[in-house]
Symmetry: C2
Subunit: 197 residues, 2 copies
């Protein structure tokens, strides 16, 4: 099973992190992102979106980091990380949406501006960060983990760009419950770091 990967991508890191925490073997293939390898064949034929990560497992080709987490958790029967119970599964999926939307367009986008020079409206990314981070912090003031009574793939989806927020000029100082949650994740067995985390 091959992961087309960029070390500095939080979306790729979501997958590496979960694979490490859950003990799933991955064959990591580094993509030459600066040279645009993901924008031309053969990678563009694997992912029309022109983005990474891409997971290839035989005939299965997946382009979205949240979907890759769901695939790995179900393929390797890691029910602790993504339960089959409808209510518990839906609790986890709520946070996959939060990762794909609010976190992606908030802290992640702020970091894309500051660290990689993307032409994105920085004020908008800060506005979105100032909307979502207090909601997550309030939620974590009442819950130890995002979705259930233990870490799930919700953590793997949301943690990377929240933990990397300071690289986009978004301080986590006002969010004590987020900072405690980050520390809890870092203390998990087989936690895997990335640069900036």
């Amino acid at each position: 099973m091959k992961l087309y990967d960029l070390e500095l991508s939080g979306n790729c890191y979501k997958v590496r992190l979960f694979a490490s925490l859950a003990g799933i073997p991955l064959d990591i293939e580094a993509v030459d992102f600066l040279d645009g390898e993901h924008k031309r064949p053969p990678l563009i034929e694997l992912n029309l979106w022109g983005e990474i990560p891409i997971l290839v497992d035989g005939k299965v080709v997946l382009r979205d980091s949240q979907a890759i987490l769901v695939y790995l958790a179900t393929r390797y029967e890691k029910e602790a990380w993504l339960p089959r119970d409808p209510a518990q599964m839906a609790e986890v999926v709520q946070w996959l949406s939060t990762a794909a939307n609010e976190v992606q367009n908030g802290p992640n986008a702020a970091r894309l501006v500051d660290k990689f020079g993307y032409a994105i409206d920085k004020a908008d990314t800060l506005h979105r960060s100032a909307h979502i981070l207090p909601l997550i912090d309030t939620h974590l003031s009442r819950h130890h983990w995002l979705a259930l009574d233990r870490p799930t793939i919700a953590e793997c989806a949301v943690f990377p760009y929240v933990a990397l927020a300071p690289e986009g000029g978004v301080s986590l100082e006002p969010y004590p419950h987020i900072r405690q949650w980050i520390n809890r994740i870092k203390e998990l067995p087989d936690f895997l770091p990335m640069p900036g985390v």
Copy 2:
């Protein structure tokens, strides 16, 4: 099972549409959105995000339209709409992310500006629409349905705000495959319309 609902919300319509297509009974409770009913108790206690839809099924309370689709499909064992097979489930989940991110911040956000006067950067919404709609159109030039060989909850998640795009000044004229797909969905048994679709 109660759905806190707004008729003009595409996110609420995702749930109503799926419930109709899959034959799932829902108790619809209209929310007084203009009066901000969703921003104060008791609804804010059900959803800290201050948004609708909200689904309440006994002790289960869900706030995200994609998660609600997953819940209904698994709770009512509608495997045709969300398979348990890891690869097929992940194919569907890819499109839940697309709905939560690119469609939400593209065509949906454009409509929020034009139809409801939201203070969102209209140019940004058009830029995002012009990014995602060609990708969906190209995908649909090769596939009859988004994720599998039949309609799934991916259709219910992506269809509403794509079909409503003209209400945000985003023409679907350049996207013939999307228009054909919209027609296919409208011809499904027990299809449910909403104003503007």
